[in-house]
């Protein structure tokens, strides 16, 4: 199994440009998450989804949008890129959002630079 796959691995954007970070998982997980990680810091939750058609805001949702049309895919959209969005973005999935035996499975991240 591929697990959680993120594309692209690297991207450089100019201020004001838009892009979509792709995330797909092949584990049939209901829960999916987007985190960002700034240098030397922990991960901050941007958005999450508990199933197809359902999304909700995390700790730092401003400047981002998500959709969840299928169980497998959870793209993250940046509409007007700003330097403050320079970060590493991680997508994750889990079989359930709570309790035992539902660890998060992470992708390898997308490193985004906005200049």
């Amino acid at each position: 199994n591929a697990g959680v796959t993120q594309t692209p691995k690297f991207r450089i954007l100019k201020i004001g440009q838009s892009m979509t970070l792709q995330c797909t998982q092949d584990m049939n997980h209901n829960y999916m998450y987007w985190y960002r990680q700034d240098p030397g810091m922990g991960l901050k939750l941007i958005y999450y989804s508990v199933g197809a058609g359902i999304t909700d805001k995390g700790e730092v949702p401003n400047g981002y949008n998500v959709s969840r049309s299928t169980t497998e895919d959870f793209p993250l959209r940046l509409e007007l890129a700003a330097p403050s969005q320079t970060s590493v973005y991680f997508c994750a999935s889990s079989s359930a959002g709570t309790g035992n035996n539902s660890p998060l499975h992470f992708g390898n991240g997308t490193r985004l630079t906005v200049t």
């Binding site: 922990g42 939750l45 709570t98 660890p103």
Partner: protein, 108 residues
């Protein structure tokens, strides 16, 4: 959101046992204590999870006292490849919050 507190960094030598303690005074009844490991340029990887007492797997042990206000991740006989950031999380109802983690550096 319940929060966790853990040391910013720790150093150890190869072959030693390493114990990383996490404080979570406001843990909720339905929270599980979960630890992740993160290497540079990679996403975090699940290590171990527990609710109370002791849990052991092939990688680590997790000790949780009866009051559940803290937990200790124990890594037996660490090697250089265990150098990473270790995160303690409370997994329950609601969002998963990662703190800054503990940077463990294993020295030769």
């Amino acid at each position: 959101l319940a929060k966790t507190t853990q040391p910013i960094s720790m150093d150890s030598y190869e072959g030693q046992e390493v114990n990383i303690t996490c404080s979570h005074n406001n843990i909720a009844t339905n929270d599980y204590i979960t630890w992740y490991q993160q290497f540079p340029s990679q996403g975090p990887r699940f290590i171990i999870q527990g609710y109370k007492t002791k849990v052991t797997n092939e990688v680590a042990s997790l000790f949780i006292p009866a009051d559940r206000k803290s937990s200790t991740l124990s890594l037996p006989r660490v090697s250089l490849s265990d150098t990473a950031v270790y995160y303690c999380l409370l997994v329950g109802l609601g969002q998963l919050t990662f703190g800054s983690g503990t940077q463990l550096t294993v020295l030769p």
